[in-house]
Amino acid sequence: MSKYLVNKFLFTVDRDTALTERYREDPAGTVAWWEAEEANKILNCIDAERSTWLSFTEEERQALATHDHVALFGMGAHPFLTLTLWIAMFERDWDEPLGMQLDYAAKLAHVEQPYPDISC
């Protein structure tokens, strides 16, 4: 498991409007590009100082590539990061206020406490 890297993906995509739109329109392609080019960048450092060891597990790659927020929750991705990015990508598709957020919650209705550990 590389919860940290999943969170890093959610964090970096959420804060960049162009990337948010790219991930909405092409999730699998964005995840593949991001893992190849961005995953090992230490934020705030030059390229020559990239990390050398970070990659997704197949399960994580699949969850991100299919916009599967239920699977991300199950693997302990930080729920604030996932929710914020999902609001940015999908709230616009709902007519009712909070429609997206309530649907998001309903899809997690089967989850019981304790929730998955979110520490990395």
Binding site: F11, T17, L43, F73, P79, F80, L83, T84, A105, L108
Partner: protein, 299 residues
């Protein structure tokens, strides 16, 4: 010595700014009551006539990230920008610009470290809605210098609740000892029960109304022992997966120090309960007429 004129502990609800500006015909049914309560709460700060605001909040993965995460951080900058692009996108809040108060920041850091808290610091900090929300609610003219203090309630491992209370006590000692003639108010924001990104989010009330009812009693009564004997890092998962933000209320109780609140109000909203508390450590510092109301929780 500096004068601690008011302590405010409140929820920070990022949708207040937008909701309060909607035309009446577009506003949700709860908007008018919400605005009325916030304006009454604002008066509790106004009458204290502060010169500088110490602002306690928590970065929501905006500037502080998992590759370099401080537990407690004090801003030490001459100015601060406020609000982030993804907050503007989600909440409709504008960017803000604050003056800092570097002298108090420096004093807070030096004294905090010497009194047992190895505080992190930042010389360039864009504060987020945990700090800008209370500006919109209780000081919309945004005319006072600030000292931001961030706590980690977000990225485990977190400091334990006892540590938040102790930091509050220490902040109180530091302000009381600050060799300055300034009038200081402390404003801290947190949450009662809250769920974000989980199955209980955005319900008709906060995810755990029973916890909320108990929590506002602890805060109103200054019942530090009661809250510490009932709240642990583990227990805070049960009321909602983002309820660790309640520890910022506990920090504020540490600043107030076992005192009953002088103003206590709440409002049951969708998604979360709003709560507004003010303490006046030394009423003799207040020259304005008394408040017309002490809030719904203190009649």
């Amino acid at each position: 010595m500096a004068k601690l004129v008011a302590i405010l502990a409140t929820t920070h609800h990022p949708f207040f700014y937008k909701t309060s500006r909607l035309p009446a015909e577009e506003a949700p049914p709860f908007a008018a009551d919400w605005v009325r309560k916030v304006e009454a709460y604002r008066e509790t700060l106004t009458r204290a006539q502060p010169d500088v605001l110490v602002m306690v909040g928590s970065d929501h993965f905006h500037q502080l990230w998992l590759d370099n995460m401080p537990q407690f951080l004090v801003g030490k900058a001459p100015y601060y920008d406020g609000n982030w692009e993804n907050e503007i996108r989600e909440f409709g809040m504008p960017k803000l610009f604050f003056k800092g108060h570097e002298e108090l920041s420096a004093y807070m850091l030096r004294e905090g470290i010497d009194r047992g808290f190895d505080l992190a610091f930042s010389h360039e900090l864009r504060v987020d809605h945990s700090i800008t929300c209370p500006i919109f609610t209780v000081r919309p003219q945004n005319d006072l210098p600030i000292v931001p203090i961030y706590t980690n309630i977000f990225a485990p491992p977190l400091p334990r609740p006892e540590r938040f209370v102790q930091l509050g006590k220490t902040i109180r000692e530091i302000i009381d000892a600050w060799p300055s003639g300034m009038r200081v108010a402390v404003i801290g924001t947190g949450h009662l029960s809250l769920e974000l990104g989980g199955p209980r989010q955005f319900g008709p009330h906060g995810p755990d109304p029973e916890f909320d009812a108990q929590a506002v009693e602890w805060i109103r009564d200054g019942d530090i022992d009661g809250v510490l004997s009932n709240v642990t890092l583990d227990s805070l998962h049960a009321p909602g997966n983002a309820t660790h933000g309640f520890m910022d209320f506990m920090l504020m109780m540490g600043i107030a120090g076992y005192a009953k609140a002088d103003y206590a109000d709440n409002l049951d909203l969708f998604h979360t309960m709003e709560a507004y508390f003010t303490w006046y450590p030394d009423p003799s510092l207040l020259t304005e007429p008394p408040l017309t109301s002490k809030g719904a929780l203190l009649r």
